[in-house]
Amino acid sequence: MTLFVLFICTCFIQGGCAEELSHLRKPYEDGVLRINLGTEPPGLDWHTSTDSTSFDVVSNLMVGLTQYTNELEAKPACAASWEVLDGGKRYLFHLRRDVFWTDGKPVTAYDFEFAWRRLLAPETAAQYAFFLYDIVGARAFNTGASKDVNTVGLKALDPYTFEVKLAKPAAYFIYLTAFCPSFPQRKDIVERYKDRWTEPENLVTNGPFKLSYWQHEYKIELTANEKFFEGAPKLKRIKMFMVPEASTAFALYENNELDFVDNRSFSTPDVERFRHSPQYKNFPLLRAYYLAFNVSKKPFDNADVRRAFALSIDRKVFPKILRRGERPTSSWIPPALGGGGSDSGLGFNPEEGRRLLARAGYPDGKGFPETKLLYPNREDVRLVVEATQDEIKRNLGVKVELVNQEWKVYLATTRKDPPQMFRDSWGADFPDPETFMNLFTSYNGNNHTRWHSAEYDRLIEAAEGEQDKNKRAELYRRADVMLCREAVPIVPAYLATQNIMVKPWVKGIAINPLDFQFFKTVTVGDTAAGEVSKSP
């Protein structure tokens, strides 16, 4: 007991409880933004990170050759300008001379050359190395087929000119230069501190904020980078907590201990409760959910059966059960990206569905073989597949058995031997139809449908190299029709949304359809009504 009393006394003396309590009463601190990351970022090395949590931190610490605008264009950042030469096969980036690292050294083309070579080096084992596979020699170097880094088509011609040679024209290439894995790195820092180069005491960055504190599994703090080339951000500090439980995070928000929360901190009942609050906003994301068929398994080897299923599902049911403002969709390319269209997919038409099913030999679903629908063990996904099961039963008379598996087991099953139907999703890596459409090419490792079409592959490859915007959009549209109306290996279901709550004293929170959160224009401390801008 004595020990316990001593312990408590020590804690109180150390903690300064009076200060804490007074802090609890204060609604906010001027210039300090408190947010919830949800979990520990698996790493802040932007070469080996692959997840949105890490990228949420990195995209406030760093800028690349380009950065995204509100219209999802890549605008100049470290690169003041660039030239696209040799029919789209060579990029020449001209770097600004006023971009500096937080230790005062200038950001040069050599930092990009080092970073991109490191991204591709097999020993880095970077998951996003394939992002640079369009570059001459990149794949061979990454796979170890070539040991000579000089065979890779990237080179710093001088401190402020960076040259990239592509194996084939790739119209989306410029977007990759705005994405975290392509950000520059400092050779001296990475080599000196090795595995610990991303710790706050070692890390140097070039973005609007710098990393000042990182208590693993608990909190990251960023402070303003006064030397940022666009000028210092308006915030003094960002406190990023890692509160995994949504209801706790939301309670913290309600108690004014967080200033901004998003999906990670939002349970569906909370969305319902605050849907009409001026603090609540909802934005569509480039993340699509779909139902996939394993076309190698009967009876889904018959396109009529797949089309019948697509026609029997009323996608409007999904936002009704998920209640986060999801956007139902029947085409695979999200409307924001161009190329797709509301008519490229099969909408809800149960009569036509029944007709096609009868034509396939199963009138009113009679004699339809036992069918399984696999999904990962998550509450929201369970709601979606149950609704799908119900729609199919009601409109086609076919009984579908639901099978759930733990997340990693589910991933392994979909990769190795998926059942006839499974639920899947895809989030965009960059704002171009390519990120969605390449998924169903015969050579894409994420195409688990077993559907292969040489014609589809040809369309995608043609679109990748097409420099004319309109022609390119038309090629993708044609592929989208093939995917969602003709062959139908998948049934697009809905597009996810980002739900946020922002305190009235926070202004300028940016919502990006790629779900990156940029805080460089945010202010805290104005008591004016909460404002949510759509631009970074």
């Binding site: 109180f12 609890l24 190395a129 596979y133 208590q215």
Partner: protein
């Protein structure tokens, strides 16, 4: 007394080796690997990752490598938290869980044991009914319900304590109470049963009949002897409580070790699974050794001799 303790701790080595070997095997049997994600990686990239973490080698080679590292005190690296070793992760997280667990354990003992004793001494009466009602609640209501309830009452409604986070001593109170609830209730039930048994003993009657006061009989004879089963469970209970609770750390956003018992498995973070399991096993062995020592202090008949 030192020699038997050392001997007991030495015996932990083969125990830990068996635990490590079984866990090593089991985690590799489970389908799915550490690098499986929604976005499948090109085979070349997976090959690079497997090579980096030696997962491209046959399982027996991986095992030899792992045990070799383990002998040097290296628990390996995390596949999920890039650039962090399992030693780093546990070194950061264990003190937090330990601190919280210690407070919770003290609370559990401080409330559970007296509650059980009071219930037993007033057997069948109002105090017994009330104490057992509270302890039944504690045992049967899951931690996340108790945690959510406490947050709602004390943080959201009364605004007396923080909702969560790990900033000051005030932030320890709610999670410690939540964590203490179940073991406290369990200890209360155990103490009650034990006291009821002891109260019936002949020597208790003898003590009373030779003129010893009621209080002295309870304190010196009944309680002391009825604590033996309590001490027996305190060993494993200590190991469980100080290695953290997934539920409590999750709902209060505490950067402890408890969450890794679950998330490491979900992420197939092989070395981290092994690391948490081994730390838990080691603590269990240590705690049980302390229990053996405590037996001797409570009951001189229980000598732990060198031949044990």
């Amino acid at each position: 007394m030192i020699f038997p303790i050392l001997k007991r701790l030495f015996m932990a080595v083969p125990v830990l080796l068996i635990v490590a070997s079984l866990t090593f095997l089991l985690v590799r049997i489970v389908p799915g690997g550490p690098f499986d994600s929604e976005k499948s990686l090109p085979p070349e990239i997976v090959a690079n990752l497997n090579a980096k973490y030696h997962l491209d080698k046959p399982v027996h080679e991986q095992y030899v490598l792992y045990i070799g590292r383990l002998c040097r005190g290296d628990l390996g690296v995390s596949y999920k938290y890039v650039n962090r070793t399992v030693n780093d992760i546990l070194f950061d997280a264990f003190p937090v869980s330990c601190q919280l667990g210690f407070v919770a354990l003290v609370l559990a003992v401080a409330f559970g044991v007296p509650l059980g004793a009071i219930a037993a001494l007033g057997r069948g009466g109002r105090q017994d009914f009330l104490a057992m009602f509270v302890s039944t609640l504690g045992v049967s209501v899951p931690g996340f319900v108790i945690g959510a309830g406490l947050i709602y009452i004390f943080a959201i409604q009364l605004k007396l304590l923080p909702v969560g986070l790990w900033e000051s001593p005030w932030h320890v109170i709610l999670p410690a109470v939540t964590l203490a609830f179940s073991p406290g209730a369990y200890l209360a039930r155990l103490t009650r049963a034990s006291v009821l048994e002891i109260v019936e003993k002949d020597w208790v009657r003898t003590a009373r009949s030779k003129g010893l006061s009621y209080q002295a009989t309870v304190l010196r004879h009944i309680l002391r002897n009825s604590l033996i089963p309590v001490v027996t469970v305190l060993g494993p209970l200590t190991a469980i409580v100080i290695t953290g609770s997934f539920v409590v750390e999750y709902i209060y956003a505490i950067p402890g070790m408890g969450r890794f018992f679950i998330t490491a498995v979900m992420n197939r973070d092989y070395d981290l699974i092994l690391g948490t399991t081994l730390v838990f096993a080691l603590l269990l062995v240590i705690a049980n050794t302390f229990v053996d020592v405590a037996y001797q202090l409570l009951d001189p008949r229980m000598r732990m001799n060198a031949e044990d």
